[in-house]
Amino acid sequence: MSVSYIDPVAECLVQAKKYNLSISATAPITIGLVINKIPDCDIFMNLVQNVLTDCNPILTARKYYTETVTYADDKLIQRIFTECDAAICAIGHCGSCTAGTVKDAIALIEKGIPAVSLITDLFWSQSEMLTHSLGWPSAPRVRLPYPIWGTEPETMKNAARTAVMEAMVLLTQDRSSEN
């Protein structure tokens, strides 16, 4: 005899949206680097800044600091949106900071500027779930090795180069046909 029961899993009410933002690869643009308080995130993003400007001298990379290991407040998000053409948000290096990094990127995407979050691979599946639950399943993310903090300078530099290369591909990708 069959039994019926209520599915205990709730639905997510957030509707999925298509991400189709991009920036020009050749125009002089400003990229905001959103840096959380995870140890060595500042050092790492300094390296990212150097790689960015070395590879593209007409590009400006501006650093912004969240006051926590979690997400940026609304004032900071507004400032970044006002001052920048795109953003790279860092770093997903623990559970809460991964949530914060993804939230920061999505907050900027919702304002209308392309944004990429940098997530270490230990927290990659968590970030995947978050982009879905926040309604932006194709919000761009770059996967970095774990750990970044406490690593040798050369390891960090290599990770920074990877971050920049992949972030710029994602930020400049033409998604207009994806509508």
Partner: protein
């Protein structure tokens, strides 16, 4: 409402385990009849959404919360407490997404005050408040945990990144011993009336034990107890010290310890102030542990008043009286990094007295 079918109850329960819908322990199958009976205890439509639970941003409808209650083994009388607890954790100030996803090992702890602690199943306020044996305590806390799994999407290693997690993620619910306390109950200190029922949730670590055996003369016992509690909060592994003074801390005094403090002239406010003031670590010791942190500087030899504070504000101390009588009280520190400070959130419990099922 999504209704699933299986050939047998055993298979249905196994399917729920396989889907990751349980905490690993046996559950009660949430049949439509059981869910409706549970929900009838509150005067709210089944499809009413009472909160959104992160990280999944799942809709906490009465139906889904009742399903969690059934699965946990709750009785209908437990349900009003659970409804209030869900509302409390869904409050922005609780930072549920961050609390669920941090690598720190914290879990929502539920405190019940007021008549509901008796009317909603005699929630435990005495010996063993965080252990097995009391159905209401065990099931209400567990129901919240199952709601966080199935509505909030909290799954270990994929969305719940707690490195060790904690037994309190299975269940953590107790009542304050209001009649055994020399102080006003916690909810009264937050502005509620004695006759109100409230639930307070705080994301906290597992309990840390504090021992104090009173001396035969009793002199200085109160001050020593304060120092012991404060010292435990300001220990080297504590997030409160590491963070430089953030986060709430749940301090649970057993009634005997509460009497020691009360007899020495301490009221609630004075205890909070004293704990806050004494929860310090000398700067040179902090430097030994934490050299490299921005807020920890090497102590200048001319600087003779340099301390690191675990707490910045007496209001960070959430003081309650509960547990059996004896030599042990406990503290439950918090993560201290949540955007809103890991402070407790209190919500009124509606007992729905006009509800036919009351």
């Amino acid at each position: 409402m999504t209704i699933l079918q299986s050939n047998t109850e055993e298979i249905a329960i196994e399917e729920l385990h396989q889907r990751g819908c349980t905490d690993g322990l046996p559950i009660v199958l949430p049949t439509l009849e059981k869910v409706k009976t549970m929900a009838q205890r509150v005067d709210i439509d089944l499809d009413m959404v009472i909160g959104i639970m992160g990280p999944r941003e799942g809709a906490a409808s009465i139906e889904k919360v009742a399903a969690a209650a059934v699965m946990a083994g709750c009785l209908p009388d437990h349900f009003p407490v659970l409804v209030a607890a869900v509302k409390a954790v869904c409050d922005k100030a609780f930072d549920l997404t961050e609390v669920n996803q941090t690598t720190h090992s914290l879990a929502p702890v539920i405190l019940v005050n007021g008549p509901a602690s008796v009317e909603c199943g005699n929630i435990n306020h005495s010996f063993g408040i965080l252990g097995p044996g009391n159905r209401a305590s065990a099931c209400i806390g567990r129901a919240l945990s199952l709601a966080l799994i199935n509505i909030g999407g909290r799954h270990p290693g994929t969305t719940d990144m707690a490195i060790y997690s904690s037994p309190t993620k299975f269940t953590a619910c107790f009542a304050e011993d209001e009649s055994g306390s020399p102080f006003d109950p916690y909810h009264v200190s937050k502005g509620y009336a004695h006759e109100d029922s409230t639930v307070t949730v705080i994301g906290a670590e597992s309990p840390h034990s504090i021992i104090l055996e009173p001396t035969s003369h009793g002199k200085g016992d109160a001050e020593r107890l304060i120092l012991c509690i404060a010292g435990a909060i300001a220990n080297p592994g504590s997030n409160h010290i590491y963070r430089g003074g953030g986060g709430g801390v749940l301090v649970v005094l057993n009634p005997e310890h509460a009497e020691i403090l009360s007899s020495a002239g301490f009221d609630r406010r004075r205890i909070q102030h004293a704990i806050c003031e004494k929860s310090v670590m000398e700067q040179d010791l902090a430097f030994k542990y934490y050299a490299g942190l921005n807020h920890v500087q090497e102590k200048d030899s001319a600087d003779n008043a340099s301390q690191l504070h675990a707490l910045n504000n007496p209001n960070q101390v959430m003081l309650v009286v509960a547990g059996g009588r004896g030599s042990y009280s406990m503290i439950m520190p918090t993560w201290a990094y949540a955007p809103h400070g890991n402070l407790p959130v209190t919500r009124k419990i509606d007992l729905f007295p006009s509800c036919p099922a009351y």
